[in-house]
């Protein structure tokens, strides 16, 4: 069975890429970060989160880093993830695609105002 390519990039996957843009995070951190950057609209449950992470890992867009957490005692078990260069590239391409869309929307007078 052909493996599913991340094309088009699902919203959850894109959000995960964005959440890892600044720092390495573990699963729960990603979930919190995504929640924050979408103003609480998107809360990734464990299933969606980890199957997205799995897909992104297999595509080489993010990778695992071994690192000790500074928070709790059960920290050894946590895996941290970071963006790879191709992941960053894809996130940028996706953002540009969305920006293009936004331009079109604005030209068609669907969107008014100054927000980008």
């Amino acid at each position: 069975m052909p493996k599913r390519k991340l094309d088009p990039l699902p919203a959850a996957a894109f959000q995960i890429l964005l959440s890892l843009a600044d720092e390495e995070l573990h699963g729960y951190g990603i979930m919190r970060q995504v929640e924050q950057q979408t103003n609480g609209r998107m809360r990734l449950g464990p299933g969606t989160l980890y199957s997205s992470i799995q897909g992104l890992e297999e595509e080489g867009l993010i990778e695992e880093v071994s690192r000790k957490s500074d928070t709790g005692s059960d920290a050894e078990r946590r895996r941290f993830y970071r963006l790879t260069s191709s992941g960053r590239k894809l996130a940028r391409a996706e953002a540009e695609r969305l920006a293009d869309l936004l331009r079109v929307a604005r030209a068609k007078k669907i969107l008014r105002g100054e927000y980008v």
């Binding site: 493996k3 699963g27 729960y28 464990p46 299933g47 980890y50 199957s51 997205s52 799995q54």
Partner: protein, 481 residues
Amino acid sequence: MSEKIFAWLVRLYPAPFRWKYEVEALQLYRDRLRDERGTFLRMRLYCDLIFDALIGIPQAWRTSYGGPPISTAAAGNVSGLPSFHLLKDEPLRAGSVVVGSVFSIMALVAFGLVMRLPAPHRFSTAGGALSPVEAVLERLNRVVSPPTGTGASGDGSTSTVNGGSSQTSMPAKSGPSGSETAEKPLTVRQRDQVIRAAGENLSARYFDRQKAEAAVEKLRALRKQGAYQGIVDGTKLAERLTADIRSATGDSHLNVVYRRNVIPNAAPARPSAAEIESYRALLIAENCSLEKTEILPGNIGYLKFNSFPDLDACGASFQKAIARVAGADAVIFDLRDNTGGFPDTVAEVAAPLFDHMVPWYNPRETQSATTLLPARGSTLANTPVYILTSSHTLSGAEQFTYNLKMLKRATIVGETTGGGGHMGVFHRLDEHFGMGIPETKITNPYGKLDWDVVGVEPDVKVKEADALDAAEKLAAKRVGR
């Protein structure tokens, strides 16, 4: 949701996924459980988890199917030679088996449902003639009538349609026995005929001429408006006509009924003397439906009878039964399986319970005699009475129950009765339609709604099966033992 449930949910994910992320997923769940406290946040968390499982599980199965592709380059492909690849060898996963079974069962159920639908057998063609296939379907759909009938056995001539109305001419004579014919869609002509006949019967027989005219007028107007157009189901037409007639007259005792069996044209012949004799013999052999006549512990009389049969045949049996409980401190009438009978018998059974004249409601009474004369020298006039009812307590048994309830002479224990009034005189409208019309005005001495359709409400509502116990307890308490 406890962690156990969540851990079980995680098991639904594919094995490679679990192997890699199970611990982390559980950790994530624990983190959220720790951080999100309070009713609202918890509820939100659980909702999230349920939605997540619904979306995440299929997604995980989709994405984590094949492992990394096996590199074929290493084998050093020589062009022209057949190459041999080993695909990943995996046993069928439990999940696939489950999904496969669910789909198979759904397909089977769907097939079953489709097969239950009747074959559409009547297609209106321009010429009105049946195609050979339709003719066969037509014959298959027709319920086989007894071979003794001459015209109705489905020879070629009857199955041709002329002008779209084969039904009216079909069973020209199907015998007075009321042989069953197949349910067929009504034709326009048949429908109009029923509506017209209903109107004629109303204006000729209903006791209130003015209201009858109003109802007839309404039916006529509705028919002109096309309100009955498209009703091809006999039962539906009967219901619709009943509703319209009732709303025009305000009389809930008027009704139109549809019978699948052919309603014989002539009134049934009076039974011969021999028939009457054998009927009586049968009644007596069955002990006049008197199932039990007992004195229960605590000197409580108990009578169970399942009809109010003909007085001529059974008057003596009933008198004997009542005499048997005459010395009791309380009497229980068990009418749970009683489906009615003769109003005379109903009155006869009730009479010993009174020592003075009382009003008595009998909706079948054509004269205005609405009183009950007490039985002379009865010892039961002041004995507490309990009546056991069920949802299949009907007709005459309801009349008995209703009257004693209205007179506050008995305590009704059990379920609401069936609501079988069957009032009015039955008139035939055509082969399948009939109509009940009250021909005289009946006054209800209690000035209240009777049991027609709604039934008689018990004073003590208990399940049918528990009614005897409940009544026994009540009676024991009442007589103070």
